[in-house]
Symmetry: C2
Subunit: 340 residues, 2 copies
């Protein structure tokens, strides 16, 4: 393996100068720099990542912890973060926690603590006190996306407010019989948002003087399939059918649309459906939604971290509100005439 020593030899410089020339830190004469670079590229030399990290204390590596890359929102965040990191010359170590509790634990106990990342991004994870303490113990900046992380900087959207906005969109069209598809309660632990979105829904309904019917609040697991099943229940047996459904995520809204179609309900003529997210399928499905720019959130998290890393600023525990945008498509309309 060719090392920096070989480069130095070939360039007729000292190891130190070569190191400075290649890293751009410290002053090096233009001539030396050119010689060093030439020698390096002639030898096909690349710095040893671990040696650099060990010597400098910088890993140029960010840990990203997500519940599951297989879900739309998370993979979008990963894409956004990944591109921003790549751009900055940082590596991305992915911790895909999955459903396995043991995996989750080992990520926190064994992986995250080994001083191998400069910073951590935790997506939609409600961390236990213990987990948080461990994270803080490594003294690395942490930013959370999509959920509050005590003591860490957070990027998120105002879930209550946008749930309200979404509900108001339906109310504004004249709907009063509005159902809500929320997340399973168990998810509140980890992802936190079902509760806040539901709250926004209920507030908006109350403000409008519309009753919130308990039987019209059903829960699913945030997937298309899960919501499809839940929506079938919602739309099938009820003595009375809602004229609109507000789902807590686009994936669940899409599941609802599919279920509605199965019942022969036309969207939006017979029933209006909307979600929250900005899912890629929104266009094809004609889904009205509130776009929360998941990629942008990933990228912003990276920029925030990188800023803290390079400035050496100890990341303040700030809460950044990410902008959202109501996108009206064809899945929502005024309620059918006969449904007063």
């Amino acid at each position: 393996m060719t090392g920096i020593k070989d480069v130095a030899e070939r360039a007729g410089l000292s190891v130190a100068t070569v190191s400075r020339a290649l890293s751009g830190k410290g002053s090096v004469s233009p001539a030396s720099r050119a010689r060093a670079q030439a020698a390096a590229s002639e030898l096909g030399f690349v710095l040893s990542y671990h040696a650099s990290s060990l010597a400098s204390g910088r890993t140029h590596n960010v840990g990203l912890v997500v519940p599951s890359v297989h879900r739309w929102f998370f993979s979008a965040v990963v894409e956004g973060a990944s591109a921003a990191l790549l751009e900055a010359g940082y590596d991305l170590t992915l911790y895909n926690i999955g459903e396995n509790a043991a995996h989750r634990q080992s990520v926190f106990n064994d992986f995250l603590l080994r001083k191998r990342v400069d910073a951590v991004i935790a997506v939609s994870l409600e961390l236990s006190e213990n987990e948080l303490r461990q994270l803080h113990a490594v003294h690395r900046p942490i930013v959370g996306i999509g959920g509050p992380l005590p003591g860490a900087s957070t990027i998120r959207i105002d879930d209550t407010a946008i749930a309200r906005q979404a509900t108001n969109h339906l109310l504004g069209l004249g709907h009063t019989k509005i159902a809500h598809i929320t997340g399973h309660e168990a998810y509140d632990q980890d992802f936190h948002l079902p509760g806040t979105r539901r709250t926004g829904f209920e507030k908006a309904m109350n403000d409008a003087g519309c009753p919130v019917r308990p039987e019209w609040i059903v829960s699913a697991d945030f997937t298309i399939e899960g919501a499809y099943a839940a929506a079938r229940q919602l739309l099938a047996g009820a003595p009375e059918r809602p004229t609109a459904v507000f789902a807590a995520s686009d994936e669940m809204a899409i599941g609802t649309i599919l279920a509605a179609r199965d019942f022969g309900l036309r969207v939006p003529d017979d029933i209006s459906i909307m979600g929250i997210d900005g899912h890629d399928l929104g266009n094809v499905m004609g889904l009205t939604t509130i776009d929360q720019d998941a990629k942008g959130q990933g990228a912003l998290a990276v920029r925030t971290l990188l800023g803290a890393i390079t400035n050496g600023t100890p990341l303040v525990a700030a809460d950044t509100q990410h902008p959202t945008r109501l996108v009206v498509r064809t899945s929502t309309a005024v309620p059918p005439a006969d449904a007063n």
Copy 2:
């Protein structure tokens, strides 16, 4: 920061013995081992990842290069690989190449070569000669998923055979007017599979004596949205409509189903549609498909690599065929009676 030295001191042992005790390599008396472990846990000590890697040459880190985690197949592979790696105590460094050519280049030029990973998994990437040379230059085992990588071990499905099998399923039901949605030609460069699947389709058609109509072969970008648009063209203007569509991926099949519905076509009564993949939405959409177990492929790739790493066996350039499974659901049936 507490180092191994502190642990040694506290345990009354030498650094060397502590290192052996904690790593489990070399012989250490049970008593010493216990003392070392106790001291380590009392101090909350964790090994420095970089120092270990530098000294041992093992990084315990695998690089995973994918076109985009945002796409179904790739994220499934990532999930499978991630779980297997976590289990084995390995980190996963994700290189999400994306559409940006500069990113792709920097991944190969700057990132992958830094002796940072013990092995590389490349998913559905047709690498250039240059890229491959660079990969081989780092002397790490490489496995490719979903595409042939000259000189590397590969895990994949027999695209031609399963495309044939899929087509035969439709032919077996009595269809003769079968359309095919393939990938854009440009994708052949990177992902390779549109061509092979199309070949399988054509072979099956030929063998059955059915004409392949050029106007019934349309291409899309492997996304639901893309196929939706392509399928609208296919199903709209034609003087004659196919009675079945075989899409080269489930996502494209789903797009086709959505397009068919928009035209008021009932699936499968008016038109049969099937894909390849084993997409999560398959169930909800009632999609007939050939399941290729993407997660399993990711996990298998990891097991293959880890075997090579631990044995020190220089991974032979073998081609492992991953099993697939025809899953018949409700999107395929015999052709409508009036369509002879």
